[in-house]
Amino acid sequence: MGGRLRSVWPPLLIGFLFLAAWQLLVIVQDLKPYLLPAPSLIASNFFGDLGLMSSTAIYTGTTALLGLAFGTILGIVAALLAARFSIVNNIVTPLAAGLAAVPIIALTPILNNMFNITSRTPRVLVTVIIVFFPMFVNITRGLLQVQPVQLELMRSMNASPRTVLRILRIPNAVPFFFTGLKVAAPLAVIAALVAEYFGGPQEGLGSRIASSAANTAYGRAWAYVVASIILGLLFYLAVLAVERWTAPWVGHRRST
């Protein structure tokens, strides 16, 4: 209990100091909301319409979750193939790197034109693409970076490549997998959000932020941003929880 408390107060403290400084800056410098809305203004917008905040966050969160799930699966599959067949590795790695360099802002219009703009599909696809790269790169590295002696052990037992994958490479890649997921989870949220700028249903955080910002309603825009931050943190915490639960050995060895 005390331990949990101890792990909670540093971010709270830093967060509080940060917000206090922000509020102070706004007051002292007499910054107008069009420039930088005060935390108090954002908070009143946020709490003033909690229902709307949560329903928009749920819409975007669903897109992000779908994208994260599919992107992760795709990343895993591609990494497994790449670790097993070097030809896949040779081909997929540069393609993935190239695809990862296409900004959402260029990608979304193309996908919006391919898939019906009135559906969620193009947004999920954008998220999938964003999630894919960090997952793929990290997992591939984890699958390949095994100790030579462990590999020899497997070989001495005449393990098939598939077995080596299952018994050695996959467990070895677990910490890498979670490193990738920790990067991908918040990115999934932002991808799902940004994909909403370019059209389609207007129920999500992205649309709301865009239209609020376009009207210089920065207090409201930032309230939605707060919702997206909360969403991102939730995703991240979920990843942490899953890591603790499924891979308890990771990072344990450093405790002496």
């Binding site: 002696v149 052990l153 070989r155 037992m157 005449n158 393990a159 018994i167 050995w249 060895r253």
Partner: protein, 272 residues
């Protein structure tokens, strides 16, 4: 598993050389012109100074690395085929345990690969852990064990399946004397019961003599076989270590290691 040509030769190495980093500045000739043949059911120890190529020789026999020259036959077939047919089990110099598995599941690993049912392999693993006196630690993680305990887990793992040939690289190096003697006797018992052939790397001359039918002495850079000392002590028992023949053999091996020819037999492949 499947039918292998019957043969009385368990391992046959002919003209084996192994050069690392060939052609580069840091070239090392780890093995040169190794001829060695191990009969079925024979216990052969490899002994020699640090870096003389013992581990490399084991790895070549196990088809974990390819010789630069020469050929290896295991159970009458090429090394690769023997590996694929699981004709040997290997204990490595490093324990090479998997951190993400408990001690018991580390021992189960080879059984899993052979598709044993969960119950059977658990029972087998516990039996082996009992043997290496680590049953209490079955559910610990490898990094919670002492060096010697890790090594014992690795030994248990190498004995889990029942291959006709055992390749063991300093398996008892990190064990105290008493545990070591227990393990030696266990190994001899297993060999007795199953008729396994065993190639065993050790730095302990008494251990080599106590266990082996033949002690192969190697010298470094380039790694060559310099002497082969036959040991004939009959069935081992409590008194073996006190027998004169034992001390003679120990002395012979020691002499061989020091580079003197006295009392040793220079072996040539095929002759033995």
């Amino acid at each position: 598993m499947s039918a292998a040509p019957t043969s009385t030769v368990a391992v046959q190495a002919a003209g084996v050389s192994k050069v690392f980093n060939e052609g580069l500045a840091n070239e090392v000739t780890a093995l040169q012109d190794i001829d060695l043949s191990v009969r079925e059911g024979e216990f052969v120890s490899l002994i020699g100074p640090s870096g003389c190529g013992k581990s490399t020789l084991l790895r070549v026999i196990a088809d974990l690395t390819h010789p630069t020259q020469g050929t290896i036959e295991v159970a009458g077939m090429p090394a690769a085929a023997a590996r694929e047919q699981q004709r040997y089990g290997m204990a490595f110099q490093q324990a090479a345990l998997f951190d993400w598995r408990t001690v018991r599941r580390n021992v189960e690993l080879p059984l899993e690969l052979q598709g044993w049912s969960k119950d059977r392999r658990q029972a087998r693993a516990m039996e082996l852990l009992e043997m290496v006196q680590l049953a209490d630690f079955a559910s610990h993680r490898p990094w919670e064990l002492s060096g010697g305990m890790q090594q014992r887990v690795a030994i248990a793992r190498s004995l889990a399946v029942d291959p006709p040939l055992l390749l063991m690289d300093e398996p008892f190096g990190a064990l105290d004397e008493m545990t070591r003697e227990r393990m030696q006797n266990e190994l001899l018992r297993i060999r007795e019961e199953t008729g396994k052939s065993i190639i065993f790397v050790t730095h302990s001359i008494p251990e080599a003599v106590y266990l082996s039918d033949r002690v192969v002495v190697m010298s470094p850079r380039p790694g060559r076989i310099t002497h082969v000392v036959p040991v004939d002590l009959g069935p081992r028992n409590e008194d073996t270590r006190e027998a004169d023949a034992f001390f003679d053999a120990v002395t012979a091996v020691r002499e061989a290691l020091r580079g003197h020819g006295g009392g040793t037999v220079r072996a040539k492949a095929g002759e033995v």
